[in-house]
Symmetry: C2
Subunit: 343 residues, 2 copies
DNA sequence: GGCATTTTTGCAACCGGTTGCAAAAGCGTC
DNA sequence: GACGCTTTTGCAACCGGTTGCAAAAATGCC
């Protein structure tokens, strides 16, 4: 069915090696034979079989892209950037959806069977051990959006969640609130743990401010809404740091339903700055992760590791920044107001 | 580096064929040798190279998943369903992002080089010719969310957009509006054309109702918002059918910014019922496409075509239905109210 | 033109599997 | 134990490429 090297060689009147060489850049072919081969190839509509060549070269140009986040709209942006970035570098993403409870070992075996050159694990909720399993299997891997570790066993690219927690705390402090809170995602997510830690750390410098923490059941709208409804009943804080934009939007929904105004009655700062956060309709003050940089670095790092497999595990963290929008009161720099403590 | 069949054969004291056979179901191996091989394989951590075997079997179990919609949150749900559905059937999605203006011919060549068993084109905006190019290249293909055609050259799975346009029209008529409009996505998208057609067709039966049509520049929040702002200035209709949920949310944002109330002043019915549409915060009345069914059918169809390449091109359309929420006035079935015409 | 040197070319072996075929082994029966 | 039949096994060729090596062709120089 498909046209192979042999057909082209026959038609061009050269050996199969010659055909192989005209399609391998840097190989030694005379201009004359190259022309003959290219003509024959064009006439037959030949294009080399990447899989067959991978057998001898040991490279498939396949990159496993593993994620368990198929419900957070941010990940559509992430997939967009990853697929484009990989394509631009001549690599092909083999997508693995870990969202149902498929055995992780399964996907590792699968990706090995397909001889992927490397793997990118894109998730802030998977444990470090998951990415490490690839490394033990001898597959170059980088964990994007993973947790920073001082003795990493695996490349990590992402952000400093502790610093972000601090940053959020400071944004709330700057509003003069005397009662603030962190509303995290599931407590088991490392990203949530770190943000909580940074938040508390920063608040320790403001002992006069009341701090509390609670966790939503998932990084989802419903979970955020439910958790905020619970908080509203219990008596809410003045300013919330929500561990994710979707969570924030859920919280906003609960707050408005309760007849309260954001940011007048309650202020919210979210996390991620997904596209939707910028919609005028939502207009969420939030903390932006520099996705393009993180993803570019992830790809570069996995490529570098493919080339030098013994490269030391490395952590690359990118700075985040607050995006001021409408869910926190405007910041008057000349005069950071301090709300009066209640009587 | 990697452990191959030969290593296992050596260790188990059998031939390479024996190893191959124990990993090929339905092959003839005695229980005794199978046990020996499995033991050796386990000890060495062997798993067969899928790519090498594809050379002789002609099957890679790779499915090209091609899309150009990496900005509409609906597609995250779609990718989730596709990847899970493919994985469940032992197939692997090779993701292709067509969103930048990469030459389509390029991705066809690429997918051929990787010998994908089949291709699924998931897009409502790509022209039919794109999917057809795969078919001419001899690659089984189905176009999901594609346009229905009476003489299809390619399998299409999706919805009847004309019928949906009609359905939306009827939903607006039922509210007793005397001035309605369709606000589509880009006029070049076949889905928009069809929805517009169905909408107009249905409205032809209500000559007393004013109908107008306009198009947003893209299927995006900003485009929907901008277009609605324009309409508001020009004097808006009472009820709008927006060709997509994201567009609808953009429109909602413009309407609220103008100080108007939905659904009291203006009613909106969207399209797609993406997850977000159900958020209380948004609460969009919309038309739901049965995504799981469409995606299941797409996968089944591509598998069937791989098995019988000469299968006739087929169209499978699934019924949509209106999801009543808060952006159209409630429907009082006993007494469909008819607003008084203006003086 | 002759010679040494460089470039190009084809042969053949290999990558990691599968599979048709014939020989070998196993089995049941007399 | 011999016989016929079925099952299991290994050999060898093949899938579609790549690549080291030595022979062949081209090139440069005198």
């Amino acid at each position: 069915m498909a046209v192979t090297m042999k057909d082209v060689a026959l038609r061009a009147g050269v050996s199969r090696s010659a055909v192989s060489r005209t399609f391998t850049k840097g190989a030694s072919v005379s201009a004359k034979t190259r022309a003959k081969v290219e003509k024959a190839a064009a006439e037959l509509g030949y294009s080399p079989n990447a899989l067959a060549s991978s057998l001898t070269t040991g490279r498939t140009k396949l990159i496993g892209l593993v994620s368990n986040n198929f419900h957070n709209p941010l990940f559509l942006e992430i997939f967009d950037l990853f697929t484009r970035g990989l394509q631009d570098r001549g690599l092909r993403p083999l997508l693995v959806n870990l969202s149902d409870e498929t055995d992780p070992a399964n996907s590792i075996r699968m990706l090995r069977q397909y001889s992927v050159d490397g793997v990118i694990v894109a998730s802030s909720t998977l444990p470090p051990s998951f990415a490490e399993a690839f490394r033990s299997a001898g597959i170059p891997v980088v964990h994007s959006f993973g947790r920073y570790s001082t003795s990493p066993h695996v490349h990590v690219v992402g952000i400093d969640n502790v610093a972000c927690g601090r940053m959020a705390a400071e944004a709330l402090v700057a509003r003069g609130y005397h009662r603030v809170a962190f509303m995290g995602g599931p407590e088991s997510a490392t990203s949530t743990q770190d943000r909580a830690r940074g938040f508390l750390e920063a608040m320790r410098e403001h002992p006069d401010i009341d701090v509390s923490i609670s966790y939503a059941a998932a990084y989802s709208f419903d979970a955020g809404r439910a958790e905020m409804q619970r908080l509203l009943k219990a008596g809410p804080a003045q300013g919330y740091f929500c561990g994710d934009d979707v969570l924030s939007i859920g919280a906003l929904s609960a707050i408005r339903d309760a007849g309260l105004n954001v940011p007048r009655d309650i202020g919210i700062i979210g996390f991620n700055d997904m596209e939707m956060a910028g919609w005028e309709y939502i207009n969420l003050t939030t903390i932006r992760q520099p996705l393009p940089e993180i993803i570019d670095a992830s790809i570069e790092l996995v490529i570098a590791t493919i080339e030098h497999p013994d490269r030391h595990p490395e952590t690359r963290l990118f700075p985040c920044r607050v995006i001021e929008r409408g869910t926190l009161p405007p910041l008057d720099r000349a005069n950071t107001p301090r709300l009066a403590k209640p009587a």
